[in-house]
Amino acid sequence: MNGDTHDLLEAYRAGADPRETVAGSLARLRDVHEALNTTIAFLDDRALAAAEESARRWASGTPRVLEGVPFAVKDVIDVAGVPTTGGSWVCDDAPAARSAEVVRRLEAAGAIAVSKDTTTEFAVGGPNPPRFGTTRNPWDPQRWAGGSSMGTAAAVAARAVPFGLGTDVGGSVRLPSAWCGLTGLKPTSGAIPRTGVIPLSWTAETVGPLCRSARDVELLFGLLRGPDGVDPRATALPPFIPATGDDLRGVRVAVVGGYLTEMCDGAVRSGIDEMAGVLADAGAEIVDADIPSASEVLAIGYRIVWVEAASVHRVNAARWSEYDPVLVSRISQGIATPAVDYLLAQQFRVRLQRELDEVFAHADLVLVPTCPSTAPRLPEATVVVDGEEFPLYAAQSRSTMLGNLTGAPGLAVPTGFAPDGLPVSAQLMAPPHQEATALRAARVFQERTAHHLAVPSGAELSDVSSGVRGTTPD
């Protein structure tokens, strides 16, 4: 399963059997889990039953859009009949009564959920979650797959499934995508309904796909977007019209400097330069831009997230002693944040949105690093930028929080490899509901480069010198 979703659908059209594909995906998932600790639950029974239906539909000439395509699901997203643990000891492990809207939409299109994947606790804890342990990176098992959608990213990158669903509050789809060599989308806030997803921060949170190609993201985004009548932030949307053509004439791409690139490894900067060059060769106009308040985004964005998360987790207020201590140290700040400060932070969103308006008055896309470094080193998850080591939280969300705080979409795109052999990534940001423009640019970039096609070697998967902590699923 080295190809993407498009390749798999082409194989089905040529006669491949979904039952063999899904069985193979589950077998590969077990191998990958053994090496990397990716999975909280394997969904054999419901997946194999769905594969029978897919086989019947392909044989009868009535396949749906994603007929028989296996996918992975971060374990903060409900799948009917399966517990949603949030990676936490405090969840009761009762099966979800119904699937999250995003899972329901994919399954209605014929896709088949095969796994519930590891996550940092409630998508906000530290890289070593107490209940299920950390997830290693398929490119180097001594590195972290990233957070918080860590199991999903590792499973997709290790070729167990062609895509997965994650959530993103400060970068949790884009960062693991970057560190695992994937293409991942944080959509415009409200574009994809969150119904059936464990909440964390209503201002910042989104659901998005982690894929092996921009063309897959484009396909999935078209299926996932649109109101469901339940999520109050998922309102009516303008049409999504994927762009065609193999050039970027008429597209202006702003390369933003300053804070967003000043703490950034040379390999990441090289990736940005390469992407800008390829996009220019394809006809795009490259311009410079500035976002004056960018240096405040990380602290203010998290200020909002911690208040909202503390509010959400008040339901477990008597059980925080069972939480990951990192989770508590992060969200407990929200308890002590004055309401006036929280509202000032919300008002800062408007200032920032106006700064983006200034940029988008002269550009269709913004090009920034997805994150400053390659994947963090385990167990402390420190990151190294140009040889200097930094704590994880000082570095990881410097560029991604901009999208969460404003609500603008961001697409992480692989741009090559650093000298340490790990993937690097750039982020294409667009105005609200202009995902099609970012996807067009990423698709053209991937038609002209091969970074997204690179596969972690099987030898690396088996080169794990120390076990991972946590409970192995049955």
Binding site: T203, A299, R314, A318, Q333, D341, L344, Q346, P432
Partner: protein
């Protein structure tokens, strides 16, 4: 609070613990200590935010302004 808007005194753990308790959170001493460290680390950014100049003739104070940007 000092004239420049910065908190000039360190937050007492007992005060944070009492605040958390009043709001229904039951944190142990170690968690209160972590919380205090995080609050103090975040204070400089919060202080800068409090001194930001007004936007327009007064901030667009309703958070719905930020939400509306997504629906234009």
């Amino acid at each position: 609070m000092s004239a420049d808007g910065r908190c000039s005194e360190r937050v007492a753990p007992a005060d944070l613990g009492a605040l958390a308790e009043r709001l229904g959170y039951h944190l142990d001493d170690a968690q209160i200590a972590e919380m205090r460290a995080a609050v103090e680390a975040a204070e400089p950014a919060a202080a800068r935010l409090r001194t930001d100049p007004l936007l327009d003739a007064g901030w667009p104070v309703d958070p719905a302004h930020g939400d509306a940007w997504l629906r234009r």
